[in-house]
């Protein structure tokens, strides 16, 4: 493939956000997607859990090439070990194979007409304060690529937006610091459920997850608040050592990552630049999932860009902001409010909540519908005081 000197749109980053944006922009515009990694989708840096709704919302086939395990529900473990579980009769989500899933999304972008180039590192090309395109470094060469619009889909680093003057710096307090092992030869119950372990001694202001990929294989990972003294690795190794059935497991893969869970980039459009996905901090603040959010934002940004190019009116790019904050973004803001509550909880509070909340309550909370669950808090003076602000 020959990289042209000029495109209507350049997308930086071929994760779920970038590939979706490219696919929808390509309907009306000439699009190039670049990614610095040698292989799209790798390393995975992900628990690989994805709800079934995302599949229908984006017409993604249930293709066993990127689906490892059917998931029927989840078990949440309070610090004292008490379990709150919810199991559905039907599949409610999947553990996917991100390396293949991300490649599938990139493939769909190519089929829609976009060009994709891996192993290509981008910085913004600015002249006199104006966005000209990107500067690309690939295999020792440097290329200047002109483009009318740039979509920053560069994930948690979010340096493209920063180069445009948007402040994407995150406080460690608002980041989850994560490490995950893909383990095999493990012996754990209910390998068709997600397992989530809470507790400030287990994972300060975060959780440990076991996301099964097979009957004896799972992603075992942890996210803790980014400002905690000990490392995520310290806590995960401790957890595994203390759990029979995990301690003897083999490690097939080690991944490290960070998730911006504490708040969003409010303004995601500046001149001819749009920011999507983790780069815009579009992550569910309770559980840290961001694949679906990234895909939603990517589709919205891509559609807006296609319209702008077709109408030859870049003045409408701001519609992406407006549309996001009145739909998916609005929901996420509600979830963030609940996070402000949950991150204050100590182990005793969590143990108490595990006695009054059902699995259904917890599911609704992660969706931003917390009222029913919060109304159940009646006999706990300290929590009652906090909860008052939410009802």
């Amino acid at each position: 493939m020959k990289i042209e000197d000029e495109y209507d749109v350049v997308v930086v980053g071929a994760g779920p956000a970038g590939s979706m944006a490219a696919r929808f922009a390509a309907e009306k515009a000439g699009v190039l997607v670049v990614d610095k990694h040698r292989e799209i989708g790798s390393p995975k840096r992900c628990g690989e859990g994805l709800g079934i709704r995302t599949f229908s919302e984006f017409s993604i086939p249930v293709d066993r090439r990127f689906i490892n395990q059917d998931i029927y529900g989840s078990v949440i473990y309070a610090p004292n070990g008490r379990e709150v579980s919810i199991r559905y009769d039907e599949v409610m989500g999947y553990i996917i194979e991100r390396k293949i899933f991300d490649k599938y999304l990139a493939t769909e972008a190519v089929r829609a007409g976009a060009a994709v180039m891996a192993e290509s590192y981008a910085t913004l090309w600015m002249e006199d304060g104006k966005l000209k395109g990107i500067k690309l470094r690939r295999q020792g060469e440097e290329l200047d690529i002109r483009s009318r619009i740039v979509i920053a889909a560069d994930g948690v680093e979010s340096q493209i937006a920063r180069q445009m003057g948007l402040n994407t710096t995150v406080n460690p307090y608002d980041m989850d610091s994560c490490i995950e092992y893909e383990m095999c030869g493990i012996d754990y119950k209910d390998m068709d459920m997600l397992h989530i372990f809470l507790g400030n001694k287990i994972a300060p202001r975060g959780y440990v997850w076991i996301f099964p990929k097979d009957d004896d294989r799972a992603n075992v990972g942890i996210g803790i608040a980014g400002d905690v003294g000990e490392t995520a690795k310290y806590y995960l190794d401790k957890f595994i050592a203390e759990h029979q059935g995990l301690a003897d497991g083999s490690i097939l893969e080690v991944n490290v990552g960070s998730v911006p869970v504490g708040g969003f980039l409010e303004n995601m459009v500046k001149d001819n630049l749009l920011v999507v996905g983790d780069a815009a901090r579009q992550v569910n603040p309770i559980h840290g999932g961001g694949i679906s959010e990234a895909m939603h934002a990517g589709r919205l940004a891509g559609t807006t860009v296609a319209k702008a190019v077709k109408e030859d009116n870049l003045g409408i790019l701001g519609e992406y902001n407006e549309e996001w904050w009145s739909t998916k973004g609005l929901k996420l803001k509600k979830v963030l409010k609940v996070r402000n509550f949950t991150e204050k909880l100590d182990d005793e509070d969590l143990d108490y909540l595990a006695t009054i909340w059902s699995g259904e309550d917890l599911m609704e909370i992660t969706r931003g519908n917390h009222k029913t669950a919060f109304k159940k808090i009646v006999k706990h003076p300290k929590l009652l005081k906090w909860v008052k602000n939410f009802l």
Binding site: T169, M175, I179, V256
Partner: protein
């Protein structure tokens, strides 16, 4: 400055207030831009970064 055994996850880049860190293949910290705030040390999930004289 370089960081040994880095996973390239980008956490340190996201929290650095001055844009001193870049990852092309490996992490590189630009000593001239670094203000030694120590946020990257705190953030790294594997505890790999040591900044000489950081305020942490």
């Amino acid at each position: 400055m370089e960081v040994e055994n880095c996973y390239g996850c980008g956490g340190c880049v996201a929290v650095c207030p001055t844009g001193a860190i870049t990852i092309i293949e490996e992490v590189e910290i630009d000593a001239e831009k670094c203000v030694k705030c120590g946020r990257c040390e705190l953030m790294c999930p594997a505890g790999l970064i040591r900044i000489d004289g950081s305020q942490r």
